[in-house]
Structures are given as structure tokens and as C-alpha cells.
């Protein structure tokens, strides 16, 4: 090369977090003593030293423009000494050393359209995936459903009036980017038709043995089509996981009339009281109905409302169902119990009732 180039910087890792810590956080790192709840969305952590740091948590749509991020930066400068952070559920948090600035910050956030809440027994932000905004395998959109659901559950974000925490998550296909499978309510995009093999493109885009090996149920077999090596799908054996499509783009599953949503309930991640557990199927299928998916919103709100009315203090969704039993859950929510609720994959028998402990 004719001109010398500057040394290319690689493998430096992220910036060290220490330079992003509020001075009060830095000073009291590792010596926090307890915290108090000031109001929904506002926490006060108290250190051994007696220092206090106030956290104001606001919901965000996760998909944020640089313009909005700069507004957050400006709010941090005005109210929080220039420091902010984000949570694992896509909320933005401002760290304040001055209690007097809490109310003006909340006012400024409200002025920009960002609600403060999501703490304790409120519904926190919905963890979700990319959907039609940016994913190739999505069976539904993610951001649109989240927006529609949170519009209706808005007061549950800004008020801590549920029996316990309630965590909702959405994934737009079975890949489940994010831990939706252990949520109080999981909204999961599903495909319901076997992949349509593109025999034209398959031989030059995919490795057939890898493709065959990708199927968990062995539904994909080698086949010669028009003299070219390709595959066929045994439709009866396909459970629409989409793994084949991930390894081979010539196996698309997208199907507007048959893709849609399923709803799962009662999972949790925390070890508090009961052990972490998977969410279980509540509603096997709801068709896609953009832009506001009213049937999905109605289903989620119904489950939240029934839970809020019937669960006891501290009972997470799954713990409430443990107490009342699944038959009563289906009765109270009015959700039909169908053949799809009976597991028929690996270890299916583990979910069969093997006692006479039946609430009759």
C-alpha cells in the first residue's frame, strides 16, 4: 500500500463500566445497605455511609432513535449529573443524588411521552424481539403487539397494584431471542405450516446433510427433484420449529394465513418462593391481526385481570395456578382446553396427571 494506515484497533472489549458510574455509585460500590420504594418507578438505595441514590425508571419502546437517546442524555445532564443506565427489560433509568429533582425529571419524561413505573408489583416493560422490523424468520411483528398490549396495560406499568411481579415477554418465533419461555405471560409467534421447499435454489444455497440433520423430528428426507439433489418434508412430522429455515434459506415457513400467536403462562425466572419454571400453554393460536392485534390484547388483558382478581399477595402467576389448579385457571379465564395443551414432544409424559389430586 502506498500510504501508511493507522493501526487498526480490534478486540478491546466494551468500555470499562467504572467511568460510567455516578460518583455516589462509585463511592458506595458494594456497600449498599437497603432500599426503599418512594413511588412506582422510583427507588431509593441507601448505603452504609448514609449516602442515598435515587433511581427513576421509565418505559421505552426499546427501538429508539438517536434523537430520543440524545433527549435522554440531556435529561441525564439536567437532572442526574449526566448519568443513566438501562435495565434488562429495556427501561431507561436515571440516577439522581438530589431527591428534589425527582418530580421535575418525571415531569420532563411525561412531557416527552415516557411513563415512569415498572417497579415491584407493576408490570415491567415487555421484553421482545425484532419481528417484521428486522427479522427473516418472524411469524409476527414484535414491536406492534407490544405497543398495543402496553397501551392497554399502561396503568399496570405506572401502578404497583398487582399481587406480585408480572413479567410479559414476546418472541416472534420459536427461536425465542430472550427468555420468553419463563415468563408470567409469554406471547409467542408460531408457524403452522411445513416449510415450502424451493427446489430451484436449494442445491446451490444449502448443504443437504446439514439440512436433514437440522430437523429435530427427522421430518426432512433426501429427494431428487427434476434431476437435482433436494429434500422433501414429511408434513405430519413437522412441528414448525423453523430450524431447517435457519440453516437453509430455501425452506421458508412464512404463511400469512397460518402464522400467528400463542400465549403461555405461569413461568418465572426468579428463585423467590418457588423454583424457576417454564411457561405453559394457555392459548394455542390467535391469527395475526395487525396493526393492533385486538384478539391478542384482549387475551393478555383477560389473563392479567383474572390473575389480579384471584391471586393472593406475593403469588406469581404460576404460583397462583399451583394453588387453584389448571382446571380452575381455564374455567376462570374462559380459555378452552384443547388437544394442543397435551404435550406430545420429548418427555411428554412428565406433564400427565398421575394422582387423584383433583379439585372436583
Amino acid at each position: 500500500m502506498a500510504t501508511a494506515t493507522a493501526k487498526r484497533i480490534t478486540d478491546i472489549g466494551p468500555p470499562h463500566y467504572e467511568k460510567f458510574l455516578h460518583p455516589v455509585v462509585k463511592k458506595n460500590y458494594g456497600t449498599w445497605r437497603y432500599h426503599e420504594n418512594i413511588q412506582p418507578g422510583v427507588l431509593c438505595h441507601v448505603a452504609e455511609s448514609g449516602d442515598r441514590i435515587y433511581t427513576v425508571r421509565a418505559g421505552s419502546p426499546r427501538l429508539l432513535s438517536v434523537q430520543t437517546l440524545r433527549q435522554f442524555a440531556e435529561l441525564a445532564d439536567r437532572f442526574a449529573d449526566g448519568y443513566l443506565r438501562f435495565t434488562s427489560r429495556n427501561n431507561v433509568e436515571f440516577l439522581l443524588s438530589d431527591r428534589e429533582k425527582i418530580a421535575p425529571l418525571i415531569g420532563a419524561l411525561a412531557g416527552l411521552g415516557f411513563p415512569v413505573g415498572g417497579t415491584n408489583n407493576a408490570i415491567s416493560n415487555i421484553v421482545h424481539t425484532q419481528g417484521w422490523v428486522h427479522c427473516h424468520s418472524a411469524a409476527t411483528d414484535a414491536s406492534g403487539i407490544v405497543k398495543a398490549v402496553m397501551d392497554v396495560l399502561y396503568d399496570r406499568f405506572t401502578h404497583e397494584n398487582l399481587p406480585a411481579k408480572l413479567r410479559i415477554a414476546l418472541a416472534c418465533c420459536l427461536n425465542m431471542c430472550g427468555a420468553v419461555h419463563c415468563s408470567d405471560i409469554a406471547i409467542l409467534g408460531v408457524h403452522r405450516r411445513a416449510p415450502k421447499v424451493n427446489h430451484e435454489t436449494l442445491p446451490r444455497t444449502c448443504e443437504v446433510p446439514t439440512l436433514i440433520a437440522s430437523c429435530p423430528t427427522g421430518a426432512i428426507r433426501p429427494a431428487t427433484v427434476a434431476g437435482k439433489a433436494s429434500v422433501e418434508v414429511v408434513a405430519d412430522q413437522c412441528m414448525f420449529c423453523g430450524n431447517c429455515y435457519t440453516v437453509c434459506p430455501s425452506m421458508p415457513l412464512n404463511d400469512p394465513e397460518n402464522d400467528g400467536l400463542s400465549i403461555w403462562v405461569g413461568g418465572k425466572v426468579s428463585n423467590a418462593r418457588s423454583e424457576p419454571r417454564f411457561s405453559k400453554l394457555a392459548i394455542p393460536f390467535i391469527p395475526n391481526n395487525p396493526p393492533r392485534w385486538p384478539e391478542v390484547v384482549e387475551a393478555v388483558v383477560n389473563i392479567v385481570d383474572v390473575y389480579a382478581r384471584h391471586a393472593r399477595k406475593f403469588e406469581r402467576m404460576g404460583e397462583w395456578i399451583d394453588r387453584i389448579g389448571w382446571p380452575r385457571f381455564f374455567e376462570l379465564t374462559g380459555i378452552p382446553f384443547t388437544r394442543y395443551h397435551l404435550d406430545d414432544f420429548k418427555h411428554a409424559g412428565l406433564s400427565y396427571a398421575r394422582s387423584t389430586h383433583i379439585r372436583l
Binding site: T10, G59, L64, L84, R85, N90, K147, N243, E257, N271
Partner: protein, 395 residues
Amino acid sequence: MADDDTKTPLLDQLEEGPWPSFVSEIKRAGTKSPVCGDLLGQLEQSYQEKKGHWKHGGIVGVLGYGGGVIGRYSDLPEKYPNVAHFHTMRVNQPAGWFYTSDAIRTLCDIWEEHGSGLTNMHGSTGDIVFLGTRTDQLEPAFKKLTAAGFDLGGSGSSLRTPSCCVGQARCEWACYDTMAICDDLTRSYQDELHRPPFPYKFKIKCSGCPNDCVASIARADLSIIGTWKGEIQQDAGATAEYAASGLDIQTDVCDRCPTRCMTYERGTLTIENRECVRCMHCINVMPKALRPGTERGATILIGAKAPIVQGALLASVLVPFVPAEELAETLKELIKRVWEFWDEYGKNRERIGELIQRVGLANFLDAIGLDPAPEMVSAPRDNPFIFYQTDGDGH
């Protein structure tokens, strides 16, 4: 493009209602970036047709890295030329997702110049997600990022960007320094993060206590969850305050304890600490009165994953307790042994949890040199189909 094509009547309905709108965000970014108009156009078409319009993958990236960029192409490139390429850059977040306003502005400036101006704060794994750019912008964006002290995260069959909860920065329950461990591991495995060497992805997540705010037990191949030995620290005065403020300690604390290891009589809370399973409920309810014990460390669990390929798994216990001061060294030794075994025996797209299911936990423990312990199981086996070894007694 005709004016009619730029109208988005369906998406516009998602600007109504009180929750902040992602459509408004795309429109805001669109005031500076022509990309966003086509993104909205294509998304509107998806909303009309109930079908996505992104093409599968594609291998793009920055020089010398095998991950950190997700290739994305429109399947309608002639209609929406500005999103013909719409690649995602995953930028490794600072531990705990802490920022200064200046750091946020720096990221915004880079992404406004070299991409769509749209982000996710953050992606599910934890990265800062820069959403949408062209192939020729990847290298310039990367150069500016590294000059500003940022680097890319993981994708594909790599170590995925480790993430952690807020930890000791702002939580009294953190039983080890999650941010320090997360940062240390991230720096130690830059090669595995940037140049995918594995059969499939490997996720590491650090939670400071059993509340597990980063959901590590549900989705991390290696889950590190803070815990403690010995007695829960009590402040009797604060307990009395909670009682005086109306908390029913017997009902709301003692009766909710999974092992019923606590009693509250005549104003005194007694805890049978040997029976405590460190669930956190009592501490969550009375943070001023109860705190984790002073002998702190972590439980290491292995093998969580989402359903693809062989079904979802929660992580299971691998090491019941490691003292906090030994954690970094223990983790690195364990990771080395686990990766060696996985590298040798893992099939393509087989996560470590699935491999353990396939070969059995006992064989896995043999391979990585750990002894079986009763903490690793919910109960011993109940079937008598035992593969007795002819050259040992099973100990």
C-alpha cells in the same frame, strides 16, 4: 416512489395510545435518515400482507471478525432501495448498562453518520443494537466505535456478549461483583467473542442474587447466580419497623417461605438457616431488616437454552457454591474444560445443555473433572436401569 407509497395508514395507528411508540421513533430518525422511509414502507407492506420481507442472513462483517454483524437484506430491494442492505451491528454494552450522557451522544453521532439512526437499547442478549446499515458503512462505523472505546459483541456460533445485572453498583443483594466478573470474562474471551469457534452459541450471564434479574437460569449456557453461606443478617429494629408499618410478618414472610424455616413470635423473627434455600422472598419483602449472609459467593449452573433445537432447558447446578474471591479463577478453569469437551463432542448446532442431555450428566462430570453432588439433582434417579461400571464402584 409515489406519494401514496410513503403513506403508512396501518403503522400510523401505532402512534396512538399512551405507551411510547416505535413507529414515532422510526419517523423521528427518518427526519435525518432516508433509510427510515423505506423501512416504514416495507413494514407497512408487512402489516398489510401479514408477512415479513427480510431475507435470510448473509455473511457480512468487519475485517478479521466472524461475528458482531447480522446480515439483513430486503426481499423487495427495488421497491425499497434504501433498505436493500439493512445490517445490524451488535455493540458490546458496558457492564450493567451504565452510561454517561457523553457516551450516549458519541454512540448517537456514530450511528447517525454511518447507519439508520435507529437502535435497540438493548438487544435481548444485552448488546447495544445498531439497527440497519449498508455493507460499505460497516468498516467505517467499526473504526469510529473502536476509536471511541467500543467494540462489537458476539453472533453466530461464538461466545455471545456476556451480560450481568446491576450488581454491587446499586443493589444490596449482590453476593458477588457481577459487573467485574462480566467485564473480566468479556475481556478474557475476546477471540471467542469475535471469531466463532464453537458448535453453536454460548451465553454467559451473571446475576448477583437468586432473584436473577438477567434471567440467566432460563437462557445462559453458563449461569452464575450469587448466593451465600451461613446466616441471613438480621436487623431486629428494622423488623419491628416493618411490623409497626402494617406488614403481617407471619403471613407475608414466614408462611411464604418455601421451607418454612422462619417463625415470628412475640416480635422476634427466628430463622433456621440450615433449612434456608436462599430463595430471597423474605429479604425481598423486608430489605431493611434482612440481608444475605456475609460469606458470599455464587452457584454456577449450566445448560439453559430456548427451544431450538431439542427443546428448552433451564440451567442445572454444576457447582453449588464458590466463594466470591475464588469465582473468577474457578469460572475460567471450568469454562476451559467445558469448551474443550463441547468442542470435542458437540454436534453442529448442539448447545452444551443438549450435549449434557445426550451423553448424561455423569459422563459430562467425568469429562470436566467434577464429582457428583446431591445439590446437582432434584432427586436421585428413580429408575433401576443403571449402567454399572465394571472397573469402579461409581464413586
